[in-house]
């Protein structure tokens, strides 16, 4: 169609926008290679690979990384179970309060993170729950549910109704239907949701500062390091690695949900 070509202005605006989104990230990457380790001198006086080695040998990086992985894995698992159950219920039946449920799920990300954080913190205080890995996980799982939910509910919508009935009609009981029909069909959506939840948890800092005790997840470690640097390029090396590492699940999620109605990652 003749009009189906973007105007030059639109193209420029779109790509300028993308550029705006990417230059700062490139900057981080550049600083991961700088030879200067105290100040952020621009342009960098020289480039080196030594910070990768330094980073590798820093035990605190490994500790923070381990904690982050642990928290992200457990929160994701919890969110997967809870988000899927919720999505199943909501897409299964119309019931009173159905709207409220979807609102409730969205709330932890629709309200500012600091609200979630401070609310959880004061609740833990009131409840006398000491801050620990558990409290971090509680917080993370709460806002990860929605990511799984969003992905799952879109997929459930696609398979609900006739397909489930067809299965029952052919003699399968509820559990068989779940095993043979539901699970294979929502599998990729769950995987995508799980990946996004994982990435979300892995990068979370605001809620975590409130729910963490003395442990530092990777972002908390980074917050400390950015403000009180020991070897600044190390922070940038870690940041770069985190970007690259979270990028893989995102990519995976994209390919898993492509063509579907879900917008993977839309609900960070």
């Amino acid at each position: 169609m003749p009009s189906d070509r973007a105007s030059l202005g639109l193209k420029i605006a779109a790509f300028a926008g993308l550029l705006f989104l990417h230059l700062p990230i490139l900057l981080i990457f550049v600083y991961a290679f700088t030879t200067e380790d105290r100040t952020y001198q621009w342009p960098p006086p020289g480039l080196t690979l030594k910070w990768f080695g330094v980073t590798w040998n820093r035990p605190d990086v490994w500790e923070a990384l381990t904690l982050s992985l642990k928290v992200a894995a457990i929160s994701t698992a919890l969110a997967l179970v809870l988000g899927t159950l919720c999505a199943a219920a909501v897409s299964r039946a119309r019931f009173f309060g159905r709207e409220t449920v979807s609102l409730l799920v969205i709330l932890p990300i629709a309200l500012p993170g600091i609200i979630t954080g401070i609310a959880l913190r004061s609740a833990f205080n009131l409840g006398g729950i000491p801050f620990s890995t558990l409290t971090i996980i509680l917080g993370h799982a709460t806002f990860c549910i929605v990511v799984v939910y969003n992905n799952a509910v879109a997929r459930f919508r696609r398979i609900s109704g006739p397909m489930l009935e067809a299965s029952a009609d052919l003699g399968a009981n509820g559990f068989q239907t779940f095993r043979y029909i539901v699970l294979p069909n929502i599998g990729t959506a769950l995987l995508a949701g799980g990946m996004l939840a994982f990435a979300l948890s892995f990068d979370e800092v605001i809620v975590t500062t409130f729910t963490a005790g003395q442990q530092a997840t990777l972002p908390i470690w980074m917050l400390e390091e950015l403000v009180r640097p020991r070897q600044r390029p190390v922070t940038n090396v870690v940041a770069m690695m985190v970007v690259l590492v979270t990028f893989l699940p995102i990519l995976g999620a994209y390919y898993l949900t492509r063509g579907g109605s879900e917008t993977a990652g839309g609900g960070k």
């Binding site: 009009s3 639109l10 193209k11 605006a13 779109a14 926008g17 993308l18 705006f20 989104l21 700062p24 990230i25 900057l27 981080i28 952020y40 621009w42 809870l82 159950l85 919720c86 199943a88 219920a89 039946a93 609102l103 409730l104 969205i106 709330l107 932890p108 990300i109 629709a110 309200l111 500012p112 600091i114 609200i115 979630t116 401070i118 959880l120 004061s122 609740a123 799982a141 709460t142 549910i145 969003n150 009981n173 509820g174 559990f175 068989q176 990068d203 605001i206 972002p219 980074m222 917050l223 922070t235 940041a239 985190v242 970007v243 990028f247 995102i250 990519l251 990652g265 839309g266 960070k268």
Partner: protein, 307 residues
């Protein structure tokens, strides 16, 4: 397998006879979680906002009072509320404007590889470490930072200085001005606007655009009368994020800004450094109320489907 099926049959039959039982079983865990852990916490927070603290020892007095709310309306505190809301609105509007071409291009013109490229190009910054992005901006905006370096390089320092000389939003350098804070907010939350906007633009059927064209509308008219109104739910969904995230952030204005507090900082400071949990809670109620209203409007506009 069949044997197992026989075992589960009675339960399956029960679910068929009493569908509510299944529904309750499905809903119970997530609802318990969300209601007990999350809503419970919010309630706990809300309750605290009706307490007050002993000014000297900093210990909470567990007695009902509205004193803390009165505190919220003192000029110094009220300024914070206004300042934050205005910033959130400005960021949201700017994000909508900047997002639109990107989302529009990605939704309507990008195909195949280009589409994947756009998707990933939006996702990458979204998922890059928030802290590192903010810190990168500090380096860019600093008085002796990269932007100054670049602006000097192209000989445009006069322009930069003129911008910095603007009252209220200007300042000594970009990194200590509202402009700087605004830029960083805008940068960090932009992807949250692009994604839902793109999703809703993708949902505008091609044939509506053709219909508009067919009825004699120019491209601009089609944009104004068909595309924009139909992209509205997506825009509102995106603005839920940009607005809410700006309302609640405390790290950005602390690293890039003029030390004037935002709600997030106030909440953080009052609960953390000042130990004034009741006032922090009262501050926290502000975004809850604002977002509550916002969500209500969004729901009526059907923005949830675009989330």
């Amino acid at each position: 397998m069949a044997a197992l099926a026989r075992l589960t049959d009675p339960l399956s039959d029960l679910f068929w006879r009493r569908p509510r039982v299944l529904l309750v079983l499905l809903l119970a865990p997530p609802l318990l979680w969300l209601v007990v852990v999350y809503i419970g916490s919010l309630a706990a927070l809300l309750v605290q906002s009706f307490f007050s603290i002993d000014e000297f020892t900093g210990l909470i007095k567990h007695e009902f009072t509205l004193k803390t709310y009165a505190e919220l309306f003192r000029p110094a505190n009220f300024d914070i509320v206004i300042r934050t809301t205005v910033m959130a609105a400005a960021v949201t509007i700017a994000a909508a404007i900047i997002s639109f071409p990107i989302a529009y291009y990605a939704a309507r013109y990008a195909r195949g590889r280009m589409k994947a490229f756009f998707y990933l190009a939006v996702m990458l910054p979204l998922w890059s470490s928030y802290l590192v992005k903010v810190y990168a901006w500090k380096l860019i905006l600093a008085k002796e930072g990269i932007l100054t370096w670049a602006v000097d390089g192209i000989g445009a320092s006069a322009v930069l200085n003129a911008i910095l000389a603007l009252p209220v939003i200007g300042g000594n350098s970009l990194s200590v001005s509202y402009i700087g804070t605004f830029l960083v907010f805008l940068y960090v939350w932009l992807p949250y606007m692009i994604l839902p906007l793109q999703a809703s633009l993708e949902r505008v059927p091609q044939n509506l655009l053709e219909a508009s064209d067919d009825l004699g509308a120019s491209r601009r008219q089609t944009l104004r009368h068909v595309i924009l109104p139909m992209a509205m739910p997506g825009m509102i969904a995106g603005s839920i994020f940009t607005f809410s995230l700006t309302l609640g952030d405390y790290i950005i204005p602390q690293i890039v800004g003029s030390s004037r507090n935002f709600i997030g900082q106030a909440v953080y400071a009052h609960q953390g450094t000042a130990g004034n949990i009741p006032l922090a809670a009262a501050f926290a109620v502000v975004p809850i109320v604002i977002m509550g209203f916002y969500l209500w409007v969004a729901k009526r506009k059907g923005a949830f489907d675009a989330l």
